[in-house]
């Protein structure tokens, strides 16, 4: 915990000084913040799919729900100070609640059926965003939602990345986390061993979707513009790729894969000559194919950096 905290503080201080002294241009700064957001989003899916084995294709929908719910509040009451924490809470709770409610019927399904059901849910939500202007014009519908205040900064992103990392690690190395890993490994046996599988599946789905919602809030208040296509089905696939690329059930993997992925998609924009920019979408699928051929378990497999392992008191029980 202390090591992780210390590392986060050091990275924060380095980035803060780079930002303050203008060593990273505003576009670069935006990419750095975006990386943190992607991390939170993908860690949510890693909890659902990587650790608990529930194949969800609707993760972008929860990201969107968080983004739109939070943005609507801050747009409606821009001068009300307490709106930032309040809207954050709403962005966290609405996707969690929706996940909880649809999770109960949907998580009864086994993996491939679950994928189709969550895919359907994702499409429904995207159509909802397309037509949201019927609800209130402020949501913008298919023309996109404009005029969201910019609240997301380095500090907010860091606080939430830190909390997410610590909470996920603490959860995984508790009886709750072990129950999740067990039900991923063998659901029937987990049930016979006293794990209330349904309860834990719903828990992981609710938590993971809440994290997606949180990431959505940060996204909305970073770019100050939302469009339904930001939350379509393909975005769910992107998230899935990050989790698989990094290694299912590895916190370290998701963190590194988020950085790699954002760099490939956004970072290469500044490095590649303009006539090669669209090649990014060739480069990264090729990378994925290579990856699946050479290392199907992802960059890290299930391995964790020391920071994300079960803490030192566990090591003291060397037998």
């Amino acid at each position: 915990m202390k090591q992780l905290f210390g590392l986060l503080v050091i990275i924060y201080l380095v980035l803060r000084s780079l930002f303050t002294f203008g060593l990273i241009n505003p576009y670069g700064q935006q990419i750095v913040l975006y990386t943190g957001i992607i991390m939170i989003w993908a860690l949510g899916l890693n909890l659902i799919y990587g650790f608990s084995g529930q194949f969800s294709l609707g993760h972008a929908a929860f990201y969107g729900l968080g983004a739109y719910a939070g943005a609507l509040l801050t747009k409606l009451f821009p001068s009300f100070f307490a709106i930032v924490p309040l809207s954050l809470l709403v962005s966290l709770l609405i996707p969690s609640l929706v996940a909880f409610l649809i999770g109960i019927p949907v998580l009864r399904l086994r993996s491939d059926y679950l994928a189709i059901a969550t895919l359907g849910f994702g499409i429904v939500v995207k159509i909802l965003f397309d037509n949201a202007d019927a609800l209130t014009p402020k949501l913008g519908g298919s023309r996109g939602m404009l005029g969201i205040p910019k609240y997301t900064n380095l500090e907010i992103v860091f606080v939430f990345v830190g909390i997410t990392l610590i909470f996920i690690r603490n959860l995984i190395y508790s009886k709750y986390g072990r129950a999740l890993l067990a039900l991923k490994d063998d659901e029937i046996t987990a049930d016979v061993m006293g794990v209330s599988t349904m309860r834990y599946k719903v828990m992981a789905f609710t938590f993971g979707s809440g994290l997606a919602g949180l990431a959505g809030w940060l996204y909305a208040h970073l770019y100050t513009f939302l469009h339904p296509t930001n939350f379509e089905f393909l975005k769910s696939i992107d998230c899935l790729l990050i989790v698989v690329l990094g290694g299912m059930g590895s916190i370290t993997g998701t963190v590194i894969a988020s950085i790699v992925w954002v760099f490939l998609i956004e970072g290469l924009r500044s490095f590649l000559p303009s006539y090669l920019i669209e090649w990014r979408f060739i480069i990264y699928p090729l990378l994925l194919i290579m990856m699946m051929l050479r290392r199907p378990q992802g960059i890290f497999g299930k391995k964790e950096a020391r920071l994300f392992r079960e803490s030192s008191w566990y090591e003291s029980f060397k037998s």
Binding site: M1, F167, N170, L171, S174, K175, Y176, G177, R178, A179, L181, A182, D185, D186, I188, T189, A190, D191, V192, M193, G194, V195, S196, T197, K302, S311, W313, Y314, F317, S319
Partner: protein
């Protein structure tokens, strides 16, 4: 009062009567064997008792409480745990995490305790760890604790399964062919261990076993099944002499009839 009472249990798969009118009473502290040829329905009985299958008809009473149709984890938490015929460990988890998972209903802290790593969390986890390690030592598994379950030799995996069933703190332990795939020496070691464990944790054991000598040596009472029905029941020496049992195992010869 009997620990387990099963009345008129039925289970069909399509047209196949896998279990047909199964009755059973097990008193606390008994060691009961369940034998029968392949496909007799023994494992189906276990799956019905532990809630993996729902019976078509009949009732299962455990400690005076009806548990028919409850989900497996509820039944386990009431004090019935089992091992599986083909080993079903959590393959990708360590041996320690396998048994810690089964122990989880007995580790009591809340979700916030876990998320914030409170004192209560640490204390309970450490207590659990000490208990589980001491148990692993009884089975001489301590050197495997941090190994992935699937990396263990077959016989050791069996032992891990038994330990995993034990940490759920059962009153009734169901063992589905625990000696399957073991050599004679391993089998006799296992049987000694089982007798020890039964006394030590004052368990009641219900054992499916294929090998007649093994089950005859260890059980106080034996139930014999064939084609989903009970064909004989009694003390080992009675069952051994029973013509219907001999017929089920060896077949009926032409000249005898």
């Amino acid at each position: 009062m009997s620990l387990l009472r099963v009345r008129d249990l039925h289970k069909n798969f399509g047209g196949l009567k896998a279990v047909n009118s199964f009755f059973l009473n097990i008193s606390p502290g008994e060691f009961v064997g369940l034998i029968g040829p392949n496909g007799a329905g023994k494992t189906t009985v276990f799956n019905l008792l532990t809630g993996i299958y729902k019976p078509d008809r009949g009732e299962i009473i455990f400690e005076g409480e009806e548990i028919t149709g409850l989900s497996p984890h509820r039944i386990t938490q009431k004090g019935m745990s089992r091992t599986f015929q083909g080993i079903r460990l959590f393959k990708e988890m360590t041996v320690l995490d396998n048994i810690r998972t089964a122990y989880h209903p007995h580790i009591q802290y809340s979700l916030p305790d876990a998320l914030f790593r409170t004192k209560a969390f640490r204390r309970k986890e450490e207590e659990a760890m000490e208990y589980l390690i001491s148990l692993a030592k009884i089975f001489k598994l301590e050197k495997w604790l941090k190994a992935e379950a699937r990396s263990l030799p077959y016989g050791e995996q069996r032992k891990v399964e038994i330990v995993r069933a034990l940490v759920a703190r059962p009153k009734l332990l169901l063992l589905d062919e625990p000696s399957c795939g073991m050599n004679p020496r391993e089998v006799s070691e296992l049987m000694e261990l089982l007798t020890y464990v039964k006394e030590r944790y004052s368990l009641t054991v219900f054992l499916i076993e294929h090998r007649m000598p093994v089950v005859m040596g260890i059980s106080e009472r034996i139930v014999v099944m064939d084609f989903g029905e009970i064909i004989a029941e009694g003390r080992p020496e009675e069952v051994r002499e029973n013509p219907r049992v001999i017929e089920a195992y060896l077949g009926k010869s032409e000249w005898q009839s």
